[in-house]
C-alpha cells in the first residue's frame, strides 16, 4: 500500500480532469489493482476542512507515511514572496509544499504549472508563480535545484497542459510498485520513456512535412502544420502521437497545431499578439527549426523536398 496525497496550487484543475479520464490504468485501477491509497485529492478526498489539516500534519509528523506527494498547479509566492495569495488549511500553500516534499518518498509534479510555472508564470507573472524545481528553463523553483525526496530522486516532472492521463497513472504505478529505479529522467526531470521522442513522432502529417506541403488554414486535411500555423511538433518532446488522446487522436491529427506544452518555455513568446498559431519567421525561414537542423541544411532540404513532391501530397488526404 502506497499513500498518495495530491494538492493543487495555482491550478485550473485541468490535470485532475485529465487524470480522472485515465484508462491504462484508470484512476480506479490505481486503488484496486496497484495498492495506491489516496489520502486526499481536491476532487476525490472525503475529508473536509480541519480533518484535511490534521491528516497533513500527521504526514509531517510521520504518523502517516507519505509515499507519493503529487502537486498540480504553480507554487504561488505573491505577494512579495509570502505566498499569502494561495492559502490552504491555515497557511500558505507554498509552506505545505515545502514541508510535505521534505517528508515524501517521491514528489511528482503534474502539468506545466507544477513543473515550470506554466501559464501563471508568464510575464509579468503577477502571482510570482514557479514550478517545484524549475521556473521555465531555470533550475531552482520552489524546492531548489538540489532537492531530492526521501527516496533520493528529484521531483519527477510530468508536464503538459494538461498532462496525458496515462502518463500520470503509469508513472504513479511505477513509483507505487517499487519500480521508480527503472525511471530515467531527462535534464528537465521528465521520464525519458515518454519524453525522448517528439510530438511529430507518429504524426499522420509527416508525409506532408517531408514534402514541404503546408496547411494554410485550419480544417485542411492536407499539409503540415509546422510551416505556417505555428505547430511545434518537430521541437517538442512528447509522445502525443504515440500514446493517443482518448485512444483516438492527437492535436495534430485533428488539425490543431502542437503548442509545445511539454516544454519549459510554454506558453511560447509569452503569448504576444501574432505569435499563437503562427509560425514565427526571419526572412521567410522559421525562427525555430526542427531540433538539430541548421538554417543552411533546412534551406537545402526544403528546395530538394519541394521539387520531389508527388501530386498526391498537394491534395486533400484523410490523415485523422
Amino acid at each position: 500500500m502506497a499513500n498518495l496525497l495530491w494538492l493543487q496550487g495555482g491550478a485550473c484543475s485541468g490535470n485532475t480532469m485529465s487524470f480522472l479520464n485515465a484508462e491504462e490504468p484508470s484512476a480506479c485501477d490505481l486503488v484496486t489493482d496497484f495498492g495506491i491509497n489516496v489520502l486526499w485529492h481536491p476532487s476525490l478526498g472525503l475529508e473536509l476542512g480541519e480533518n484535511v489539516k490534521v491528516m497533513m500534519e500527521k504526514c509531517l509528523s510521520g504518523e502517516i507515511p507519505l509515499d507519493i506527494f503529487v502537486f498540480e498547479g504553480s507554487v504561488i509566492n505573491a505577494p512579495n514572496g509570502t505566498g499569502e495569495w494561495n492559502r490552504f488549511c491555515g497557511r500558505p500553500m507554498k509552506d505545505w509544499v515545502a514541508d510535505l516534499s521534505a517528508k515524501a518518498q517521491f514528489v511528482v509534479a503534474i502539468g506545466d504549472c507544477a513543473t515550470w510555472g506554466g501559464i501563471p508564470a508568464t510575464a509579468p507573472n503577477p502571482s510570482e508563480s514557479e514550478g517545484l524545481q524549475f521556473l521555465k528553463r531555470a533550475k531552482g523553483g520552489a524546492l531548489g535545484e538540489g532537492f531530492t525526496s526521501q527516496a533520493g530522486l528529484p521531483v519527477i516532472n510530468i508536464p503538459g497542459c494538461p498532462a496525458h492521463p496515462d502518463w500520470v497513472t503509469q508513472i504513479l504505478v511505477a513509483v507505487a510498485t517499487g519500480r521508480a529505479g527503472d525511471l530515467t529522467l531527462d535534464e528537465f526531470h521528465r521520464p525519458k520513456t515518454f519524453f525522448s521522442s517528439f510530438t511529430q513522432t507518429g504524426c499522420t502529417r509527416n508525409m506532408h512535412f517531408a514534402y514541404k506541403v503546408s496547411t494554410t488554414a485550419f480544417g485542411q486535411r492536407k499539409g503540415c502544420l509546422y510551416y505556417d500555423l505555428g505547430c511545434r511538433g518537430p521541437m517538442t518532446h512528447s509522445p502525443c502521437n504515440r500514446i493517443l488522446w482518448n485512444r483516438v487522436s492527437s492535436k495534430t491529427r485533428a488539425g490543431m497545431p502542437c503548442l509545445g506544452c511539454t516544454e519549459p518555455e510554454f506558453p511560447f513568446f509569452d503569448l504576444a499578439p501574432g505569435t499563437v498559431f503562427k509560425t514565427q519567421t526571419v526572412m521567410g525561414v522559421p525562427k525555430d527549426l526542427p531540433l538539430g537542423v541548421d538554417r543552411t541544411g533546412y534551406v537545402k532540404l526544403t528546395a530538394a523536398a519541394k521539387g520531389a513532391a508527388p501530386a498526391w501530397a498537394e491534395e486533400d488526404i484523410f490523415v485523422v
Binding site: K212, V213, S214, T216, A217, Y227, D228, G274, T275, K278, T279, Q280, T281, V282, M283, G284, V285, P286, K287, Y298, V299, T302, A303, K306, G307, A309, A311, E314
Partner: protein, 105 residues
C-alpha cells in the same frame, strides 16, 4: 491540377508584370509582424488582381534577400504540380521563377 482558367489568369498576371505594374517588392517581410501586416492589408485592400500583386510585391523574376533566393518554386505556399500559390489571401497561378515578399520556407 492546373486548369485552363489557371493558365488564362497566369498569362494575365505575366502581362501585368511585364507591362510595368509597380509592386511593393521591398521591404521584404523580415519577420512575422511584417508578414502579418502584409497579410492584413491583403485581406482588407486586396480586392482585385492588381492590388493583390502590388501589396504582395510580385515580380516575374526571382528576388534574392538576406542571401536567400526567394522563388515561388521553393515557397511553402507553392503547389508544384498546379504551379499555384496556395496562400489563402492570394490563391493565384504563378510561375516557379516568380517571387513575392511573403515568400517562406
Amino acid at each position: 491540377m492546373a486548369t485552363d482558367a489557371d493558365e488564362t489568369l497566369r498569362r494575365e498576371i505575366a502581362g501585368l508584370l511585364a507591362g510595368g505594374l509597380e509592386t511593393e517588392v521591398f521591404p521584404r517581410a523580415e519577420d512575422s509582424a511584417q508578414v502579418n501586416a502584409i497579410v492584413s492589408r491583403l485581406q482588407s485592400e486586396g480586392k482585385d488582381l492588381a492590388s493583390k500583386l502590388v501589396i504582395a510585391g510580385f515580380t516575374d523574376h526571382t528576388i534574392t534577400a538576406d542571401e536567400l533566393e526567394q522563388p515561388c518554386e521553393t515557397c511553402m505556399y507553392y503547389l508544384i504540380k498546379r504551379r499555384f500559390c496556395d496562400l489563402p489571401e492570394l490563391m493565384l497561378p504563378v510561375e516557379p521563377e516568380w517571387s513575392c515578399r511573403l515568400w517562406r520556407i
